[in-house]
């Protein structure tokens, strides 16, 4: 018990371990597994990432004005849902052109609120995908 007492006593005069986070930003290591980022120009639309992704948070869905890319024969557009993603990085490992078409950055995903319609929008995409 005395060691605890002493510990508590000395802690009182030590600088606390706490990082005052929103005020003092915490820098993420460059290796941190954050958001998946996509380089549209380099993508070859092999859809390997879509197939590899366990939760299905990458979807290539046909749209009316598809991005202009000669490899994009079916008129697909890349969609990514950071609220579904589990940040495993498997898509990047599956991608034939990592670092150019698809890479994992060290950025933290952002917080969403109700008006962001996290789920509703994605439902639409999933439905489109199913219909395809």
């Amino acid at each position: 018990m005395f060691t605890s007492l002493i510990k508590a006593f000395t802690n009182l005069f030590k600088k606390p371990q706490t990082i005052d986070y929103p005020l003092t930003p915490i820098l993420k290591d460059k290796e941190y597994r954050g958001l998946i980022e996509y380089g549209e120009a380099s993508c070859i639309y092999c859809l390997k990432c879509e197939k590899a992704c366990p939760p299905g948070s990458i979807l290539f869905v046909p749209v009316e004005n598809p991005p202009e890319n000669e490899k994009n024969k079916k008129g697909l557009q890349y969609h990514y849902n950071p609220y579904l993603c589990i940040y495993c990085g498997e898509c990047v490992r599956a991608c034939p052109k990592p670092d150019e078409a698809l890479w994992q950055s060290n950025k933290k995903p952002s917080i969403a609120i109700k008006s962001d319609k996290v789920n509703e929008d994605w439902f639409v995409l999933e439905k489109l995908k199913k219909e395809e």
């Binding site: 018990m1 060691t3 605890s4 510990k7 508590a8 371990q17 290591d29 290796e31 941190y32 597994r33 590899a52 992704c53 366990p54 589990i86 940040y87 495993c88 990085g89 498997e90 490992r93």
Partner: protein
């Protein structure tokens, strides 16, 4: 005259629980006489999804989500089973790195359990102290794998990331620090009178009961039962890196705590040995083919023996993935231990089992 017992519920939502599990204690005053439990709140259907929804190469990431605490053991067991079915050999370096992360995970998981036990025993300061020190381990885990909890470090054929010398230095430095702290806790657990009142002689499991109820992991080792899968498999070179079995005789909460602390210290030694003797070589071997046949793989997760039974039929979809998790096997023992104890001790006893129902129910 009416009955003199009260039913005290613990869970499914309760402050002393991190996960939903429901116990209903029938108590006389506060002495528990019977226990009724419901452990199925977290059932998600992973076993089925592994055979219908995911291809075999993605399952490693899925089964990691069976549980965040020994995620690494899950993906390791699964990958090992697949590697066995595919019949390839992986490099020595990746084996060492796998052990490294396995042991780091054990350290942080044990620390979490200790702190949670203290919190449930009403010792908030100790909880804070251990959780604060645990950040040292979390830090190196994040450096090593890119994430604090779900490491996704292991893939079929090896590991995903190499280790740099800075990281290795940092690991050694942090672990040295952790070891000092762990010795400090050891002293605290043995000498603090209030903790002795809460822990010594409480929630005891005798050796014979441990045998009878097939207890595993620290729970069994605290009762003196020599069971540690690291001792029973040759797949990873645990002997080379200095594994030693830690046991205790008393079987009470205190014994479990001490076993965990000793394991932390042993794991730290193992990590140091690994980093010293890390073989050179690649970290990844590409394995070809589709899994066929059946394999049983066991590993020692922080909470005890984890078993995977995998059966493939030569296609990308597996036929059966059976996950037998540590807590699942311990549940009969839990109920047994509660009987006769005081409700006031129940949360601490529960935490000292270090239960994880998310794997129990899958």
């Amino acid at each position: 005259m009416s009955k003199k017992t009260i039913n005290i519920p613990l869970g499914s939502q309760h402050i002393s629980l991190l996960e939903p599990v429901r116990f209903k204690f029938e108590c006389e005053n506060e002495k528990i006489i019977t226990v009724d439990s419901d452990v199925g709140f977290v059932h998600r259907g992973i076993e089925r999804a592994c055979t219908t929804k995911f291809k075999f190469d993605a399952i490693g990431y899925v089964v990691a989500r069976v549980c965040g605490l020994c995620a690494i053991t899950h993906s390791l067991s699964y990958t090992a089973a697949i590697e066995k079915l595919l019949g390839g050999e992986i490099t020595a370096k990746s084996k060492y790195l796998r052990i490294l992360l396995l042991e780091l995970d054990r350290i942080h998981s044990h620390m979490l359990c200790l702190s949670h036990t203290c919190e449930n025993a009403g010792f908030e300061a100790m909880f804070m102290r251990i959780m604060g020190d645990r950040e040292l381990v979390m830090e190196i885990q994040e450096l090593l794998t890119g994430n604090r909890i779900q490491f996704d470090y292991i893939s079929i054929g090896g590991v995903n990331r190499d280790i740099s010398s800075e990281i290795s230095k940092k690991i050694i430095a942090n672990l040295y620090e952790v070891k000092q702290r762990a010795l400090g806790y050891m002293d605290e657990f043995t000498n603090n009178w209030s903790l002795s009142l809460k822990f010594k002689g409480i929630g005891a499991l005798s050796l014979d009961d441990a045998y009878m109820l097939n207890a595993i992991g620290p729970l069994a080792r605290a009762s003196g039962l020599n069971i540690d899968v690291r001792n029973e498999i040759e797949y990873l070179p645990f002997d080379e890196v200095g594994f030693k079995m830690q046991t205790h005789r008393d079987g009470d909460i205190n014994a479990r705590n001490l076993v965990r602390l000793n394991e932390i210290i042993n794991s730290i030694e193992m990590c140091n040995n690994i980093l010293e003797g890390l073989p050179e070589g690649a970290i990844f071997t590409k394995l070809k083919g589709k899994p066929k046949g059946e394999a049983v793989i066991r590993f020692e997760a922080p909470r005890g023996e984890l078993m995977y039974y995998v059966k493939g039929n030569g296609t990308a979809m597996l036929e059966r993935v059976r996950i037998k998790t540590p807590t699942f096997s311990c549940i009969p023992a839990f109920s047994h231990i509660f009987v006769g104890e005081n409700y006031a001790d129940a949360p601490a006893i529960l935490a000292s089992f270090d239960p994880c129902l998310s794997c129990t129910a899958k």
